[in-house]
């Protein structure tokens, strides 16, 4: 593909999602967008770029952006963050929020829902400690397509075998033909909403915990800084931000500090969460 077409498509995706596509990612454009072009009766990416120039179609722009975002996820991905949530963060919040008995969790870029549902199952397993508490899990993504799948809570045999312990499959899933559906009691614990992380985030309200794992790696530094600063503003002073294993706030957002001993977890106040526990 020629560099004008590449520019057109990569600029569109970058402006809309923050996703940075360098010239070495042409293969990614091809593998993700050629199927989209074919569905519209077009043969090549050149044709797709031409169509975009000619029509300036909003739906097409949205479809291109959605197709380029990465949706890989699985239940209890990396395990460790979920252990930290259960063993460190939740006990802290149970003490610190004993007055209002409310905990708000935000799953940013939740993809097809495995991460918020992992948290929901974890909280269900801990429900003895949460009697009388209101725990809200908000899960957002830029893509309508993944949100529809997330809401349905329907997963393939392959998906339920990546990260989900068999005991939890037995407890919280029903077999639906070839697929497995997570219980309505777990689905009801998660509120899914469409949200672009580049938009103004103040409308989503304040949170005690934010999971934003393996998202920032796709952004350039100014975009990372913008998103992190917004998250910091809506995260409780003693709250916890979970990032992915290859991500950090260091040198990007100085108002968030790593919590010592808890890898991948950050808090607005220095040692906020530890000082309070």
């Amino acid at each position: 593909m020629n560099s004008q077409d590449f520019q057109l498509l990569s600029t569109l995706v970058r402006e809309r999602s923050g996703l940075v596509l360098t010239e070495d990612k042409v293969y990614l454009l091809e593998s993700r967008l050629v199927p989209l072009a074919r569905r519209r009766g077009l043969n090549t990416l050149e044709d797709l770029a031409g169509e975009l120039r000619r029509t300036n179609d909003e739906k097409l722009k949205e479809d291109i952006t959605e197709a380029m975002t990465t949706n890989e996820t699985f239940f209890f991905r990396d395990n460790k963050p979920f252990d930290i949530f259960k063993e460190n963060i939740l006990p802290h919040l149970l003490k610190a929020r004993a007055g209002q008995k409310t905990i708000r969790i935000w799953n940013a870029a939740c993809s097809t829902g495995q991460e918020p549902y992992s948290l929901a199952m974890l909280l269900k397993e801990e429900s003895a400690k949460l009697t009388g508490w209101r725990v809200e899990i908000m899960a957002t993504d830029i893509s309508n397509e993944v949100l529809e799948k997330a809401k349905a809570g329907l997963y393939s045999q392959f998906e339920v075998q990546r990260g989900l312990p068999i005991q939890l499959l037995i407890k919280y899933f029903q077999q639906m033909g070839e697929m497995w559906q997570i219980d309505s009691s777990i689905r009801a614990m998660v509120k899914f909403e469409k949200l672009n992380l580049l938009d103004n985030l103040s409308r989503v309200g304040g949170f005690d915990v934010i999971f934003c794992r393996n998202v920032l790696i796709y952004f350039d530094n100014p975009t990372k800084a913008k998103v992190l600063n917004q998250m910091r503003n809506i995260l409780a002073k003693d709250g916890a931000l979970f990032l992915g294993g290859a991500e950090t706030v260091l040198g990007i957002c100085d108002d968030l500090k790593p919590i010592s001993g808890l890898k991948g977890v950050y808090t607005p106040a220095e040692n906020g969460i530890l000082a309070a526990s």
């Binding site: 699985f74 395990n79 075998q161 990546r162 990260g163 312990p165 068999i166 037995i170 077999q175």
Partner: protein, 121 residues
């Protein structure tokens, strides 16, 4: 090096599983039915057993029940790996003492995920 006993009547499945597990640094033993697996276990318990369900001579479930009754038979981590992919079979396997359950077809990602869940990786 941890040892893993692969029990499956299909030579192809044993070969595929062996490749994945050797790559994950397991010492591999093989049996083609439950009786063969039991003979191996009674000589020396492996650390992990990857277990098919439907096999001639002695099936996986009968093997598992006998294993758990034998001396030291509570030790090995048992991961079922079978085409029986309905909830009734899964429940039966877990209540008979299986630690995890893989529904075929499997790949390296699934084996790795399941083995790390039961703490052998």
């Amino acid at each position: 090096m941890a040892s893993c006993l692969i029990v499956d009547d299909s030579k192809v499945v044993r070969m595929v599983a062996r490749r994945i597990l050797e790559d994950l640094n397991f010492d591999i033993l093989e049996a083609e039915d439950g009786q063969g697996a039991l003979d191996i276990c009674l000589k020396g318990m492996p650390d992990v057993i990857l277990l098919d369900w439907n096999m001639p001579v002695m099936n996986g479930l009968d093997f598992l029940k006998q294993l758990r009754l034998s001396d030291g038979g509570g030790e090995p981590v048992v991961v079922f790996c079978t085409t029986e992919n309905d909830m009734a079979h899964i429940r039966e396997a877990i209540s008979a003492g299986a630690n995890e359950y893989i529904m075929k077809p499997f790949d390296r990602a699934i084996i790795e995920a399941k083995f790390s869940q039961v703490g052998v990786l």
